[in-house]
Symmetry: C2
Subunit: 343 residues, 2 copies
Amino acid sequence: MAVTIKDVAKKANVAASTVSRVISDSPRISLDTKKRVKKAMKELGYHPNVNARNLAVRSSQAIGVIMPSSADKALQNPFFPEILRGIGTSAHETDYSLYISTGGNEEQIYEEVQRMVYGNRVDGIILLYSKVSDSVLDFLVDSNFPFVVVGKPYEYESRVTYVDNNNISASKDITNHLIDLGHQHIAFIGGSTDLVVTVDRLTGYQAAIKNANLPNNQDYIVHAEFLKSGGRKAVERLFSLEMPPTAMVIADDIISLGVLNMIEELGLDCPEDVSIASFNNLYLSEITRPPLTTVDINIYTLGAQAAKCLIEKAKDKNEPAKRIIVPYEIKYRNSVRDIRSLQ
Amino acid sequence: MAVTIKDVAKKANVAASTVSRVISDSPRISLDTKKRVKKAMKELGYHPNVNARNLAVRSSQAIGVIMPSSADKALQNPFFPEILRGIGTSAHETDYSLYISTGGNEEQIYEEVQRMVYGNRVDGIILLYSKVSDSVLDFLVDSNFPFVVVGKPYEYESRVTYVDNNNISASKDITNHLIDLGHQHIAFIGGSTDLVVTVDRLTGYQAAIKNANLPNNQDYIVHAEFLKSGGRKAVERLFSLEMPPTAMVIADDIISLGVLNMIEELGLDCPEDVSIASFNNLYLSEITRPPLTTVDINIYTLGAQAAKCLIEKAKDKNEPAKRIIVPYEIKYRNSVRDIRSLQ
């Protein structure tokens, strides 16, 4: 049974309003009374921080975090624990907890978001993904509820606060790196084209291919799920082509993991037979064989910045929409081969 | 502004009690009225599931999940996303969300748990760790709030529902595996001795050493944090001994990762110079060089079972305390060398 302000008031023999004033540390209350009320709170196990905030400003002291798919599936990609880590740190600094969705499809996620919003369960919401079309985003915009998107919103761009990398530029850079080392047959393995991040990374890859006057070979573009199994299927397809690629740009290290397994199964070697460059710099990219050349997108910072912006927004609904671009950096490791001498 | 039952009642031109009955699907309400009320709910964006549950049974439809340390630190170990994955799946099946602590030390965690309990934010709590002495556990026992421990509680064992592996037996088995392959100088690298899991794994290791009549060498027992950096320090210490170990039992794959790095830095080879066997079967244990022999403790199942038990307990406080022992299995990979022929 939760202890209420009334219980504290009764025990301390003061009015309930006096208890509220003690909680808000009002100068109108004498030190003696403050002491008496605080003693009563302690004895009853009354927890002023939360309850007071709830009474005063209806704050839930929680941030809603929305995964792109069921927690089951999403958490298989270390991107999500890493971004939760960043969010968690910012949240912790301001005494917020995290309220995490477990829904598996858009409808279920939509229901959970409604529950969070209408049930006053969270002060604001972080969307951990950005889709080309998303009823959840529409709902959040319509309801004027504080939220932040990780990734670039496909619509409402100027009205929504979001934290992203410049994925077009990053993808151009990593593709150019392969081109500079002599590769002319470069494939792109991306995630679902519903996701804006895939669209951006594909755009950057295509721009680099075009700038270098390389042929635009549609067979070299494969879309896989952001999971280990996705990478395996993609490789099967690419290596059944008449002219298989000598290098691949892969939209996520976790897909690269599957690609590396499949390359080995096919009796091929990375980087001897095929080079790989991917994205995210998940910590696993350092321990694969070979360690992966990858774009470090600073996942932790994406999360920390998203939470920081959200808390600002939750405190002040008039906070303007912001765009935060987190810098990226290519980590050069051993999965890419220089083939200029072969030409 | 949240829509209330009153708003729905007004719009549908019925009494608020009628709306409640429609929500609980009472047979006393005519189909026509039901239709009218449901239409009003939809138009107002009223969300009956949550609000009705809140009114009826004060359910939060959320499970509190308590990390052993700050989310920042804990989420560096893939154990936590994997167990969240298991919890998330069970939670999702019953429309629960997860409410995750972000506190960094025992006092902060204690405060967060109090907030969750007194603020009616969660229907129950899962402790993702078990410590030798823990004020959070004491508080949960005292307040008779539904909770489940992952790991074996050090106190209150018969009164608390918990989900664990038989860590003593698992550690005995993996140590015996090393002994069977000819190792006589076997070190143990564990996490903090505050944690019951460390105590159990150390106990199993010591039992196996004793059974095999090997000397009980205290220098071979090192405690490191459950993080990559922990493993590095431990190796430095062990390899400065006059008689360094030929094999190590390591309490967590994530420590093994640091150990492997350090072994390489010292110019040594695993398993040629030193064998490694560890615990948890994190997915990274398959991609390290060499892949790790490790005890698969079925982390996902630990989480799924914990959530299932908690939801039962939250629905019925009289549900008896349960002990669930999740089976383990040794995964034999390439980090252990058979040295019998050398003797």
